[in-house]
Symmetry: C2
Subunit: 214 residues, 2 copies
């Protein structure tokens, strides 16, 4: 039984605007995307966007619903076999970016945070609260180490999805996991945070690996 109240036309248009905003912000960043272009994509007048969302900044915030709940995803990564945490993290990260729909908000954040201070603050707070605090507490490693793996993953996304560096664009998902998982595992393993340059000693990582892998 449909209740009285807002008519279907409203919610549809609202959603179309948000969808168009996500696309534009993802492709051109906050400053590059214009309300006029977003409105045109949604097939409506630019004034309507202000009527619905107020300012451009508020429209951006409204369109940035992440396709993931950190409170659910982070524990799911950290639980399970200890030795495969790095792999689970990299696979989860790749899953978010490889889903065409899920990629948009992250692209928009990266493309906007570099030049817009408000978006940079959004990103900083998201990383601190949703990632660093949770992971550091759950794993018993310093926040700076969680920031290290965040840097690795964000840098990877920047070069693969934004800059389009050929070796990373052409790499398969399995290649990427094989390459990044050990790094994630290193950062998330308690007891390694006070190790100063372990490679300098004895056999080093290379010999260790050639031994354990035949």
């Amino acid at each position: 039984m449909a209740q009285a109240g807002r008519r279907p036309g409203q919610t549809e248009t609202r959603e179309e605007i948000l969808e168009a905003a996500r696309r534009r912000f993802a492709e051109q960043g906050y400053d590059g995307a214009t309300v006029r272009a977003i409105a045109a994509d949604a097939g409506v007048n630019a004034a309507l966007l202000h009527h619905f969302f107020g300012t451009k900044q508020q429209l951006f915030a409204a369109s940035m619903n992440l396709p993931v709940d950190p409170g659910e995803l982070v524990p799911r990564i950290l639980e399970g076999p200890e030795a495969e945490i790095g792999e689970r993290l990299v696979r989860a990260f790749l899953g978010l970016w490889e889903a065409p729909d899920g990629r948009a908000p992250f692209l928009a954040m990266i493309r906007s945070a570099t030049t817009n201070e408000q978006v940079a603050t959004m990103m900083r707070q998201f990383l601190e609260r949703a990632v660093l605090a949770r992971v550091a507490e759950a794993r018993g490693v310093p926040k700076v180490r969680v920031a290290g793996i965040a840097a690795q993953m964000i840098g990877f996304a920047l070069l693969r999805y934004v800059i389009g560096l050929p070796p990373l664009v052409n790499a398969s998902e399995e290649e990427i996991v094989g390459m990044l998982a050990p790094v994630a595992q290193y950062y998330l393993t308690p007891g390694t945070e006070k190790v100063r340059l372990p490679m300098h000693q004895e056999g080093g990582l290379a010999r260790h690996w050639s031994e354990t892998t035949g």
Copy 2:
């Protein structure tokens, strides 16, 4: 003996414009920085910038003289004790960013490449020709692995110098070296590129480290 030709006033103004351009592009990115603002900073009229450099894009290119010669720096990092390559790389990278003057071009690249396709191409080609090709050839590791360490370092710079993530902002140079050098060493060590998730096997990296470091 001073030759006839261009008067001193010309070169001084030119340099001041380039300096102002470097500052503005570094702080606001390509799209955010305006020729008018750059001209005002240099104390000249905006028309003069077009007279000297043509378009804004050409002014950007002219102002982007990197404070480093990759052809000289890369070999210097790769030479020397094998086990300390990672540390030398991280220290060199930090040296470039911590020098207040040298930071500007890199900031400008990061802030501009995410939204400007031409700058993204500049960055892509710089990484491919000046970094990936040289290092991969010299070290005998696949380009994708050199791209991996590039991602780690650029992601670190993004979070520390652009986003301002507190744990990375507050970290000392020695802390950073201690954290990132093992990762760099891992990527640049031949023979590890076909290792699939070594952490999953036997003791893993954590036990290896606790053993080799007491």
